[in-house]
Symmetry: C2
C-alpha cells in the first residue's frame, strides 16, 4: 500500500493538536433518500493497517447507517483548533455490520469492540437512538469479547481531500485528488 500524499499533513495536524481530546472529533455529512443533507460529529479511531481508510464506530440503528446503505457518499469536515487547519475528505463510506462475511473486516470489527471501554460498549445496548425516551437507559455491561448486532465499523475511503491552512496571510489550500488508476495528484488552489 502506498501512503496517500494527504496522510503526512493529516498526521502532522493530529500530532500538533494531540493535547486537545476533541481534535479527534470530525463532522460527517451524508444524504438521506429525500436528498437532504445530515451532519454529526464522529470520533476518529485510526487507519486500519495498510490502508488509507479512516475508521469510526457507529450504532447500526442510527439514521446515518440507513442513509449510508442507500447512498454511500460522504464528506468529513475536520477542523484542528491549535494549528487552525481544516481537512475535508470526500469519498465512499462502508459499513461493517454483523452480516459482513469477509473475515478480515469481521476480525477488525471484533478487535475494535474489544479495544473499547465498558462505558463505550454500554452505549450499544441502550434503547433505540433517536426514539422517544421512555425510561432509564439500560446499564448492563455487554460481553467484552463479542460485539452486539448494533455495533458497526464505519470506514471512509477518501477520493478527494481539501486541506486549508488558515494560519498566516494569505492562507494556503491544497486539493488532493485520486484518479481512476488510484493515483493521487495534488494541486495548490486559491483559499
Amino acid at each position: 500500500m502506498i501512503l496517500a500524499p494527504w496522510r503526512t499533513p493529516l498526521a502532522r495536524a493530529l500530532h500538533r493538536n494531540r493535547s486537545l481530546p476533541h481534535s479527534r472529533y470530525a463532522q460527517l455529512a451524508t444524504v438521506d433518500p429525500q436528498g437532504c443533507p445530515h451532519n454529526r460529529s464522529i470520533v476518529f479511531r485510526g487507519f486500519p493497517a495498510d490502508t488509507n481508510t479512516l475508521e469510526f464506530i457507529t450504532d447500526q440503528r442510527s439514521e446515518k447507517v440507513s442513509q449510508i446503505y442507500q447512498n454511500p457518499w460522504g464528506e468529513l469536515c475536520w477542523y484542528f483548533p491549535h494549528t487552525r487547519e481544516q481537512f475535508r475528505l470526500a469519498g465512499e463510506l462502508q459499513i461493517i455490520d454483523n452480516s459482513s462475511t469477509e473475515s478480515p473486516t469481521q476480525t477488525a470489527r471484533q478487535h475494535r469492540w474489544q479495544s473499547l471501554s465498558d462505558t463505550s460498549r454500554q452505549q450499544f445496548t441502550w434503547p433505540h437512538p433517536g426514539h422517544p425516551r421512555t425510561g432509564d437507559l439500560t446499564t448492563d455491561v455487554p460481553d467484552p469479547t463479542t460485539p452486539p448486532d448494533s455495533f458497526c465499523l464505519l470506514w471512509l475511503h477518501p477520493q478527494r481531500v481539501d486541506h486549508l491552512e488558515l494560519r498566516g496571510t494569505p492562507q494556503n489550500r491544497y486539493c488532493y485528488q485520486q484518479d481512476k488508476n488510484q493515483t493521487w495528484t495534488v494541486q495548490e488552489i486559491n483559499p
Copy 2:
C-alpha cells in the same frame, strides 16, 4: 418574535464556551446537484435582530453558494468542546447577495460588511476560491463602506434542532421541531 426554545440552551453553550475562539465555528452540510454531500467550517456571526435565524458570511464564488441556490436545505453541526454538547440545526438556507432588493436584508448585508476587519474584507477581493493558484493573492484593502459583489450573507432558518449533551452517563438528547404553524415542540429522545 417569539424566541425559539432551543435558543436558551444554545446561548448557554455559547456563553460557557466563550473562552474558546473556535467555539463559534460550526460545520455546514449542503448537497450538490449530483446529490453528493459537502461539508465545511463556517463562523457564526450572530442572530439578526428579532429572528431565530443564524447569520454567517460567505463568498458568492464559493461552491456552497451555487449548491444553496439549487438546493437551499442544509444541516449545521456545532460541537462545543468545554461543555461537550452538540447542536444539529437543519433548515432552509438563504443567500443575501448584491441582487437582494428587499431593503432590510441589503441593510443587514451592508452593516455586516462594515463590522468586519480589513483582513476579513480583503478575502473577498482574492482570486476565485478553489481555482488553481497562479500567483500572489491581491492584498488591496477594499472600500470599508460598500460591500463588493462577492460578499454575501448566509442565513440559516432552522426547522429542526437536535441537542445532545455528552457529559454524564447516561447522556441527554432533545429534539426541537417546528410545525406548519411555526410553533416549536420539544421531545426528549434516546441518545
